[in-house]
Subunit: 144 residues, 2 copies
Amino acid sequence: MKEINNNTIAEELREAGVRASSARVMILKYLLKERNHPTADRIYTDITEHLPGLSRTSVYNTLATLQDAKLVRPLTIDGTEMRYDATVEDHGHFKCESCGKVYDISADMNGIKVSGIRGFRISQRDLILRGTCPHCARKQLDMQ
Amino acid sequence: MKEINNNTIAEELREAGVRASSARVMILKYLLKERNHPTADRIYTDITEHLPGLSRTSVYNTLATLQDAKLVRPLTIDGTEMRYDATVEDHGHFKCESCGKVYDISADMNGIKVSGIRGFRISQRDLILRGTCPHCARKQLDMQ
DNA sequence: TTTCATTTCTGTAACTGTTACAATAATTAT
DNA sequence: ATAATTATTGTAACAGTTACAGAAATGAAA
């Protein structure tokens, strides 16, 4: 497990071919540390709470740059807002429809039998499960 | 294959426990016939082109009703807009990043090995593949 | 049928997430 | 140091969605 600090992140950025500007380091560090599938707005508010001087537009610009550099993956779990994930390895997500929280799940997508995709070139696979998380399921039982 | 006409659709609505208003029949018929994973706006423009007198808000309201009645499934393939699908059976989607088209694919999700979801109650599974569709892949080759 | 209560639909306006754009600031190369 | 490029900011526009109040349609009861 590589340590996460400004230097390692700056290096990772340069390796990916982009300049290690302060906004990029901040945002990538946030994504690597929190791993909470945040929205752009969540990133903005969390970072500026401690370090003002970052604009909302810069968050969007930076996220676009990090996506292009394949350092960050966009998640389209909700229909109306993007979420972002610094984990690039194949994995799935569970969205609790009760509390809204998004959980990482490990899923072996090679086991999926897919047909009717002859000639399709696949570059990304997203698996999203929806339902109720254990915490909310227990709460619902208690209320009965 | 059951025939799709206003009567069978009205009956389907009533069976699902909702009134068969004209807006609901129109929109469900559109979804069943077109099967093009439309956005709310696409539904609105396509229907009002031939039959004016349907409001954009009614499209949203109706889609929410049809979702509650489990007749329509929301798709969150893009981050900024919802799409809708009248097919309820488990299947996946392929989004071509080049032309934007969304294809249905048949996927057996029972083969997925998922771990780390003890206690999670799953109500829906979405599989989204992204990449290049055969049509666009051929175009890209031609250009080289 | 007429009346009443409820449900559905409409139009406007607000709201949220995102993007475009021009101006400023910072960085890199010359 | 200077110029050219790149990054960041703030404002404003834009798109998709939702809230809300009033109008219309529907269903039930008399």
